[in-house]
């Protein structure tokens, strides 16, 4: 029995099982389904990465033509990272959902959608028939939507879900357009026909086709200015769903872009510049907006946009390298992008899981009300810290490795490429450094305000650390993060077949070797650093063992003792930054006015808003509503009018051809006269 059929059978059986068992067991059934699916697909993926791609053909009837299922090295890499994150997601999710156990119908739908989503994603990586691809893509969108709106009784969750739904369908419209374009010229639905078509088409047309695909996949990935659904969908979804959305679902867009780059013979330099510009803007904009958010999940969502920008920078660099025949740059760019895809799925999912645990303990997502959680939840705090360090790209964790690869590529590009590209690359370098610095600002704020200090608002219930089953998937992810940071050369070796797909094997014969050596040194240095830290700490413990160590309150310069309300809030932490970039942001302030001489309590609220959203989404929507509002009188609720419209339409449709005939006859008559 072929593997694809096996996966389909698994979906059906387990969905049925999920529906029929009791609530307590539903999560476990879903876990089992995901495990089996992951096992099957990982087996294919590992083989593909080792060099034997997997291929299967189905006959899909006259509509689909021949459906080919191909898994090459690129699919293999993405399948592996998807499986890992989906596994940790369901491991964490079944504990997280325990709080909602009494909503049986919702939970069943949720777990079934999870299984379907996982399988749909594996399908997207492998299906190479255009119609089949669109079907699986739509399936993925629908199941993701169902997962997001789990708490649908809250209005904003529903709105966020519908926002995501609409934008996902705009994305699929672009994809359909591009696919129709190609298939109408070549007559076949196979992906390889894209390659054939673009080889003989005019370069400008190829570039337009590429842009069409890029916009379609870019909406899914979250590039600016297509990102406006991300900051709404991620906070609205349950935490493990946010984790897998940031971790793998938006990577589907990246996969799409990479697959299209493999297939379309576009001018790599132009494509590279386009991707680079958009990515730098996404990265910088994403992190700039992330800093001023005060909802934890929204902050993490904007960070995902930034990391997609970093991945895009890597892809752009790779394209530039291919265009300039600079194999070092090509390897560094693509390897950095692919590795960062893996890294981001790891640390972002870990951040979301930790945030979910915090949320379930304190029931609020507002940073300004948190604080001092590290004393009550030390393990969660440590995991959040590890993930924050990783996301800022600091050694010894994995974020540094992928950023290092991209930096190497950038510097090599500056050195080896012609002048015009050097200037672009310096700008990209500037952008990347800025991103790194801003990310550090953002996560010192996030970690510091949530976990450190004292609580800024009294907590509703006593807080305790999460239990081990909930912590276990996070430990696994954290270990993986550390592992990649200390042993990056293994992953580069794993990645090389994928990069070879892009650049062709003879061009980079020696490349992986030099990278592996460099990264080995990096790994060793990181290890040395960790050992050094431990040594210094031990020295300190030894030297102060005999000394007196006391505790007291925090130093407050001799003034009144410190209260938690004197602490720095998140808003104050970023205030100087916010004043700097004020023209670029849009903040909405509402304040109560102070009139009396001895004022009573008043309030002041500040909400950050997204300028891109205001320009690209709100304005067109408002004009559309105004325009459509003029036709409001047509919908007056009386069914008789509606039937009248129908009759009028029928009469018009019948009469118009007759009228045309009459007019044509008259004209002929006049002509004869």
């Amino acid at each position: 029995m072929s593997l694809s059929i096996a996966i389909l059978v698994v979906i059906f059986i387990f969905s049925f099982l999920v529906i029929s068992v009791k609530e307590r067991r539903k999560g476990d059934i879903a876990l089992l389904a995901v495990l089996i699916n992951s096992g099957l697909s990982s087996w294919i993926a590992i083989q593909a990465l080792q060099g034997t791609p997997f291929e299967e053909k189905f006959y899909g009837g006259t509509v689909f033509g021949e459906i080919i299922i191909r898994a090459d090295a690129l699919s293999g890499w993405f399948i592996l990272l998807t499986n890992f994150t989906m596994l940790t997601g369901i491991l964490y999710g079944r504990r997280y959902m325990k709080a909602y156990e009494n909503r049986s119908a919702d939970i069943t739908l949720h777990y079934t959608s999870y299984i379907v989503n996982h399988s749909a994603m594996i399908g997207i990586f492998c299906v190479q028939n255009m119609l089949g691809f669109l079907c699986v893509w739509e399936l993925m969108t629908l199941s993701a939507f169902l997962m997001i709106i789990f708490e649908h009784e809250k209005m904003e969750v529903l709105k966020a879900g519908i926002n995501y739904f609409i934008q996902a369908h705009i994305s699929i419209t672009f994809l359909t357009l591009a696919f129709i374009w190609v298939s109408s010229h070549t007559g076949s639905y196979d992906f390889n026909s894209i390659a054939d078509y673009t080889v003989q088409a005019h370069p400008a047309l190829s570039f337009m086709l590429f842009l069409c695909f890029f916009i379609g996949f870019g909406i899914k990935a979250g590039f600016v200015p297509f990102h406006t659904w991300l900051p709404y969908a991620h906070p609205a979804a349950p935490s493990h769903v946010s984790g897998i959305m940031s971790g793998v679902i938006i990577k589907l867009g990246i996969f799409g872009i990479l697959r299209i780059l493999l297939l379309i013979k576009v001018n790599y330099i132009e494509a590279g510049y386009t991707i680079l510009v958009i990515s730098v803007i996404s990265g910088v904009y994403g992190v700039m907006l992330a800093i001023i958010q005060h909802n934890v999940k929204k902050l993490l969502a904007y960070h995902s946009i930034e990391n997609i920008g970093i991945i895009g920078i890597g892809i752009g660099l790779g394209c530039l390298g291919m265009g300039h025949n600079n194999s070092y740059l090509a390897f560094a760019g693509f390897a950095g992008a692919l590795l960062h895809t893996l890294n981001h799925s790891l640390f972002k999912s870990l951040l979301f899981y930790a945030a979910g645990t915090v949320y379930q303990a304190v029931h609020t997502m507002d940073i300004e009300k948190l604080g001092g959680l590290i004393k009550k939840m030390p393990k969660t705090a440590t995991l959040f810290l590890i993930a924050s360090l990783a996301i800022c790209g600091l050694p010894p964790f994995n974020g540094f490795i992928s950023e290092f690869l991209i930096y190497s590529g950038l510097f090599n590009g500056i050195v080896a490429n012609p002048l015009s590209s050097s200037i672009m690359l310096v700008s990209a370098l500037f952008g990347l450094v800025l991103i790194g610095g801003l990310a550090m600002l953002c996560f010192t704020k996030a970690f510091g305000i949530i976990f450190l200090g004292a609580e800024r608002h009294p907590y509703p219930a006593p807080i305790s650390e999460a239990e081990l089953p909930r912590l276990f998937p996070k430990y696994v992810v954290a270990l993986f993060i550390l592992f990649i940071g200390l042993m990056p050369q293994l992953f580069i070796r794993l990645l090389s077949p994928v990069v070879i797909l892009f650049t062709g094997s003879q061009a980079i014969s020696g490349m992986p070797g030099s990278f592996i050596n460099t990264l080995q040194t990096v790994g060793l240095s990181s290890l040395a650093f960790i050992i050094l830290c431990i040594i210094i700490y031990q020295v300190k413990q030894k030297m102060t063992a005999a000394r007196k160590i006391t505790t007291s309150t925090t130093w407050s310069c001799g003034y009144t003792p410190v209260t938690p309300r004197l602490q720095y809030t998140a808003n104050s932490f970023v205030r100087s930054y916010r004043k700097l970039v004020r023209p670029l942001l849009m903040m909405r302030k509402s304040e109560g006015t102070i009139n009396e001489v001895f004022p009573q309590t008043t309030h002041s609220d500040t909400h950050p808003y997204d300028r891109f959203e205001a320009v690209f989404i709100d304005k067109p929507l408002k004009s559309l509503k105004r325009f459509m509002g003029r036709f409001d009188f047509l919908q007056n609720g009386s069914e008789q009018f509606y039937i009248l419209y129908g009759i009028a339409f029928i009469i018009i449709v019948i009469i118009i051809p007759i009228l045309i005939d009459v007019v044509v006859n008259l004209i002929n008559l006049f002509k004869q006269v």
Binding site: F430, K445, Q567
Partner: protein, 304 residues
């Protein structure tokens, strides 16, 4: 032989701070403390007990150690003329900048851990200023990479040679940029006054208000080490490759002393910038780095 630079920089850190304070005192007409006084202070702190705040957690206790370790690793990467550092690989200045950033990260969250508004203020300023100073460093290294065609500290300084006038100008500008970066990183004038007593005007000193004992000693010594490290970086400009050891070591020490005196000079004769406009001033560094980049392009003849 990579261990030689390490030892040299550590040795230089012992007297660097002392020379700065001594020169400041001399410039203001006093005699000033001994050159090794700061090191004696650090040693005294190492032997003291500590007082920890109740609001803090384990982060506060490990942050200074991590900061110190990061500075040590960074020092291990500085080359010495033709000798590579203990750690040297392609693109190692990226690792250099990021490991220092790691130290800063822990400094900042250590400050936030105390739950005091003073530390929070210092942490916020420190985060902002360091983020603005980073691009200058990277663009500078990028320009040098472009000039010499190599991407590691050792190879860049190994093949750097000054020929034409423009390259001398570039060299001077680069030294200027590195000096300013040093001043920003260590929170000296003109960004921040180390002798101010007003917490509202502090950047770095206010972050360490609650540290005491061994931790405080670690932080002070780390600051000294950072000074010496950047001094070593500047000294590399003047150490032409291939010179004998009996030439390079005196040049190195002389450069460090000169650097310390210059720092003292700047601190004595310049007032601090207004705190609100610090970000703009720091950002000007990036523009200067861009100028350096253009200069390099001129040198290479890519633009005429």
């Amino acid at each position: 032989m990579g261990i030689l630079n390490f030892i040299l920089i550590v040795a230089a850190s012992l007297f660097f701070s002392g020379i700065v304070i001594r020169s400041k005192s001399i410039f203001s007409g006093r005699k000033g403390p001994g050159i090794f006084q700061p090191v004696k202070d650090v040693w005294r702190l190492f032997r003291k007990g500590a007082v920890y705040s109740e609001t803090t957690s384990f982060i506060f206790r490990i942050a200074p150690s991590i900061y110190f370790a990061s500075v040590l690793i960074a020092i291990a990467m500085i080359p010495f003329g033709s000798q590579p550092g203990l750690i040297s690989f392609k693109g190692d200045f990226v690792f250099f900048a990021y490991i220092l950033a790691l130290g800063k990260f822990f400094n900042i969250i250590g400050a936030l851990d105390t739950g005091s508004s003073f530390e929070g203020m210092g942490a916020s300023r420190e985060a902002l200023y360091s983020l603005l100073a980073e691009p200058a460093f990277f663009i500078l290294m990028g320009s040098f990479a472009l000039l010499t065609g190599h991407t590691s500290f050792h190879e860049i300084f190994g093949s750097l040679h000054f020929g034409s006038y423009i390259s001398y100008a570039v060299g001077v500008l680069a030294a200027f940029v590195i000096t300013l970066i040093t001043l920003i990183e260590n929170s000296r004038m003109p960004i921040d006054d180390p002798k101010t007593h007003l917490e509202l005007t502090m950047v770095h000193e206010v972050m360490i208000l609650d540290n005491s004992g061994f931790d405080l000693g670690l932080i002070f010594q780390a600051a000294n080490l950072k000074f010496a490290m950047y001094g070593g970086l500047i000294a590399n400009f003047f150490l032409t490759p291939g010179s004998e050891l009996y030439f390079s070591i005196p040049i190195f020490i002389a450069t460090q002393i000169l650097f310390a005196v210059v720092v003292g000079f700047i601190e004595s004769f310049m007032a601090r910038f207004r705190m609100n406009q610090n970000p703009q001033y720091i950002f000007t560094l990036t523009s200067i780095s861009l100028l350096i980049f253009l200069g390099v392009l001129l040198i290479l003849g890519k633009i005429v």
